[in-house]
Every structure is written in structure tokens, then in C-alpha cells.
């Protein structure tokens, strides 16, 4: 049953990736890529869990699953820089300062390095079968996932700013849902992954807001189809 759920979640991540990619192609903003790359990573994460049972235990699945941890360690902190870029694109004075950017760049690099050391360098995997799925998880875990937690708190902070200044609550709501669902996910399989979809929806919508895509005057007009 979980295989179907993870497949559906993969499809939804790809959908939000497409919506985000449309926004990127319109704006050509490099900052949008900082959101798109982790989004693609999450589609990979869910996809690998979904197909695991078909391939069974072995080196192939182990390698694919190791990729999930590498993606989480390297790509998730990129959302710190993306959050600041949203504030910058919406004209926040504090986000225009070079010093602020340098501080967040240092924080992002530190979180990537820390996550890479704890989740990738010291990674040992063990197979787990659950409700028709097979995946490899970390055999030993040294404490809470600090980089992911810091990333969510930065997103919540910027989200709160957007809520107050721009009456845009979705970035805060998306990251708050993730903050609540992540620890519960340890007890209820699939909950954290479902919350990731909610967070991604809020990320894509916030990126569209920052790119000015939600402005009605810029709404794209669909062209009629030509049948051959």
C-alpha cells in the first residue's frame, strides 16, 4: 500500500517541479533554481522508496538509497539561501545587504558540511521492509537532523516576515507543517513525506510570488491546440 502512496507523492513532487520550472523559465531567476533542485531531489527520494520492492535487496538498491541521503544532506540547506532570496526579490531592506547574504551563505555551507559529515560520511545502511516497500535506512543516527531543522527555522522566519509585510502566509504554513510532521514521521510512516509535498507547494507558490507570477496582469494565455 505504501508503494502506491510513495508513487503518488513522486508524481506530486514532479508536478510542483513543473510549475516551479515554468516560473523559472519566465523569470530566468537563478534563485528559483535553489528551490527547484531540492524539489527534484525529493521526487527522487520518494521514487527510490516506491520502486525498492521490485528490485529487492542488493547493491543496486543500496546505492540508490545512499543517493537519498546525499541529496538530503547537500540540497536541503540550499533552501536557506532561497528563503533570503524571496525576501530580497520582494524588496526587503535587510535582504539587500551584502553582510546578511554573507552570513546566510556561511550558514548554508556550514549546514551542508555538517549534514555531509553526519549523514553521508558516517553512513551505514540497513534494509527495512514495510507494507509492500523496501528501503535502506541509516543503521545508526547521531542525534536530530540539525541542517534540516535550521533550514525549516530560517524558512519559518522569512515566512513570518512575508506574512506580516506582504500578507502571504503560505511559506510560514508550509514550513510549520513540515516542522510538526517531521518528528511524527518517525512513528507514522509516510507522514513526513506527505508534509514535504505541502512544503513544496508553499515553496513553489512563494517563488512565483517573488518572481511576480501571481500578478494577474502577467497571467499567461494558453494557446489553442493544433491537431495534426
Amino acid at each position: 500500500m505504501l508503494m502506491v502512496i510513495y508513487s503518488i507523492l513522486t508524481g506530486l513532487h514532479l508536478f510542483f517541479f513543473m510549475v516551479g520550472a515554468q516560473s523559472y523559465l519566465r523569470s530566468r531567476s537563478v534563485y528559483s533554481l535553489l528551490a527547484l533542485i531540492p524539489l527534484a531531489g525529493l521526487a527522487y527520494d520518494n521514487g527510490v522508496i516506491a520502486i525498492g520492492v521490485g528490485f529487492g535487496e542488493g547493491d543496486f538498491m543500496k546505492t540508490l538509497n545512499a543517493g537519498r541521503y546525499i541529496i538530503h544532506a547537500i540540497l536541503t540547506p540550499l533552501l536557506i539561501l532561497w528563503s533570503v532570496s524571496v525576501a530580497q526579490r520582494l524588496g526587503a531592506a535587510w535582504a539587500q545587504k551584502r553582510g546578511v547574504w554573507m552570513a546566510f551563505i556561511v550558514l548554508t555551507v556550514a549546514m551542508i558540511a555538517f549534514g555531509f559529515y553526519t549523514d553521508v560520511v558516517r553512513l551505514t545502511l540497513k534494509p527495512v521492509q514495510e507494507l509492500g516497500t523496501l528501503r535502506y535506512i541509516a543503521a545508526t543516527r547521531g542525534g536530530p537532523p540539525i541542517p534540516a531543522i535550521i533550514t525549516i527555522f530560517v524558512m519559518m522566519g522569512v515566512g513570518l516576515y512575508l506574512w506580516i509585510k506582504h500578507k502571504w502566509a503560505w511559506m510560514f504554513v508550509g514550513s510549520f507543517v513540515m516542522l510538526v510532521a517531521a518528528p511524527l514521521g518517525a512513528r507514522l510512516t509516510g507522514l513526513a513525506n506527505t508534509a514535504e509535498v505541502v512544503m513544496n507547494a508553499s515553496i513553489v507558490a512563494s517563488d512565483q510570488l517573488a518572481n511576480g507570477d501571481l500578478d494577474e496582469t502577467k497571467a499567461s494565455v494558453q494557446k489553442p491546440l493544433k491537431v495534426v
Binding site: 521490485g54 528490485f55 491537431v227
Partner: protein
Amino acid sequence: MNISLKSGKTKPSNPQARAAFKSKVAKINRYMAWINLPLLLIGSFMIHAWKDGVAGTSARSTGSALQGIFIILFFIHTLMSAYLYGIPKPARNVRVFHIYLGYAVFIFVMSSQVFLKTEPLHTLLYFLQWVTISFHIALSTRFAFKRLAKRKADPTLAFYTGGKLVRNAQGEA
């Protein structure tokens, strides 16, 4: 102008009537797809619950019955879509992508059942089936919201030329 058929029914021949007819068929096609979705979800989850040992054999038989209805409606939905949209010219357009995604759903649903006993091909096709279904539904939902927003858009009032303003405004609405 309409051309009479042998059955006594008429087939619209002029472009406007044909477009109106296709628009009606498209509406029925969309409604049918939304009815089909819960049949697929409930049917599949019942069968998986039985496979995982969470539910009994009654879940399996009910799930199979729902999936049987789903397959019939799914075929009709695909045929109607092929009639409505045909093979659109490939383009970087979300609507074209949506149509091809729908055809991909059909291919993956059918092929995943053909290779039922061949692993890991079956799992891969079954995975792609659900990925394309969820993507297709997400896009459909987006289009549905856009249609709804268009329908709910405030009608523009005609320029006031005299008479009672409130009555005229209500008349426009």
C-alpha cells in the same frame, strides 16, 4: 446547418455547432474522470490492504469490483479524449503535455498489467502508472481551478448612463 443521419439523429456540420458539441463531450469526459478517480483509489487501496494483511477477503472482492468499473470508465475516458484531442502537435504547452500525459497513463496502466509476473519491470511500470496518474490529476485540478476562477470573475458593469444605479447594477449581475 445539420445533416440528418439514418438513425434520425443529427450531426452538427458547421464549425460552431461542432465546437459546441465537442465542448459538451469534453464536459462529460471531465465529469466521468472525476467519478473514476475515487473508484481507482478506493479499489486499489482495498486490494493492497488485503495483500498487506490489513483487511480481509471482502476488501479484495469489493476492490476488484470497483477496479472492474474503473477499467470500463477508463477505456471510455481514453476513447473520448482521443476523439476530442487526437494527436496534438508536440509543443511546449501545458495543455499538450496534459494530453500526452493522459495517453501515458493509459499505456502504463495496460502494460503494468501485461507484465504482472515480470519483476522488476512490473514494479517500474506500476510506479510510472501512479506517477503519471497523480501528475495528470494535479494538472486537471489546476485547470479546474482556473475554469472556476474564470466563471467566478466579477462581470464588468456597463457605463452608467442614467436611471437607478442599484437596479441597473443588479440587472447586470
